[in-house]
Symmetry: C2
Subunit: 219 residues, 2 copies
Amino acid sequence: MTDTPAAAPAGGPRRGRARGSYAKTEARRQEILAAAFEVFSTSGYRAGSLKDVADKVGLTQAGLLHHFPSKEALLEAVLTLRDEESMIRLSTAEAKGLDLLRGLVELTCYNTTIPGLVSLYCVLSAESTDPEHPAHAYFQRRYDWVRGTIVEAFTEVGRQGHLRTGVAPMAAARQLIALMDGLQVQWLLDNASVDMPGEVVAFLEAITTEKFQPASGPA
Amino acid sequence: MTDTPAAAPAGGPRRGRARGSYAKTEARRQEILAAAFEVFSTSGYRAGSLKDVADKVGLTQAGLLHHFPSKEALLEAVLTLRDEESMIRLSTAEAKGLDLLRGLVELTCYNTTIPGLVSLYCVLSAESTDPEHPAHAYFQRRYDWVRGTIVEAFTEVGRQGHLRTGVAPMAAARQLIALMDGLQVQWLLDNASVDMPGEVVAFLEAITTEKFQPASGPA
DNA sequence: CTGAAAACCTAGTACCCACTAGGTTTTCAT
DNA sequence: ATGAAAACCTAGTGGGTACTAGGTTTTCAG
């Protein structure tokens, strides 16, 4: 894990790349990750092939494996990269309570613009349900973390009296996550007829006493 | 489609098997379908192999392909078989309104006893999100049908005044389906910590004015 | 400019894939 | 009992898989 090259030790400005990769290496890695992301998104991990990825970036399979030692390592790199990106998007570090929930609605809106990423997580999370799958532990950890974060948010919302009676934060969190996941499958099958953010807002407004409508309403 | 042998034309009791298969053929087909179901459940369609299926029933790949002309045909047979079974379980034909919703809770209870089937639909529905997937059309049709059925139920429930204000049947149906699908992923990742029927009941009681607790409460 | 490592390639390994051709064995209606 | 078809097999085809060994080209610090 975390055996990536690059990542200069930050000595002087001219000191970079501590006897490691070359100037364009990091860019190549990013290209590869983008391609791997695309492939795993549409075919899943097991059915997606290194050749598909290599072709997309104009490399041979062997050339690809010079950057990532194995298919599994490539998957892990894709997952952690995307997690970092979405964490930045959600600005989770700061948002709490209602703000976090509103952030999730926004996230859902954003998701409608990136079917590829949505597909990646749908296919991979289902696939990784098998304990033998290399991403099994990753998704267990991920769900634990996400659920924990959302439970906290609902607890906070409840403390402020914005939760409808009879709604338990734990159950609400699980349901919200399940709803968002499930909506994605329906949306991927038929983008046009599913208003993901709309449904999430409807759910949140059904279990809280707050409004969640984002900037512009649905068509 | 529906090119299965067996299925006697029902003439006399001794007349069966109209110049088609032998006595044990149907049993073999069932064996094969059970094995294919297991394989596709854990590995998905694309990564699951005919060899895996053939080995499970003690056949060669060629022997298997004598019963089902292609991998795709095998998948279709597995899907339609399981659909028939779950339709019988739900006794959908009769149940309407509240009864249908209660039937869904029961279905969810039943699902907790068959992780294999749950896994099949999770993995396959995610995979089939790709328009190129052989089960793509199947799942589009399936979701349309299920949603239609549930919309009807919520509409009926609303007519009887058991729907909370502001709840639209269409949105409720979509959310219910998404919830059930999403819960399955979480449950498959960690059976012990997710009470699927409990969450479904909680959701239904949040958007209706009825009680849905089944026979025995959760632990 | 040089030389050492990074980047990348060709070629190959050993294996798995869905599917086919054509033969052998088993079933069973006549 | 027999013969024709169903059931099943062996042996392949042409293709794909992840990954490796070992060489060539490119980069770039000293």
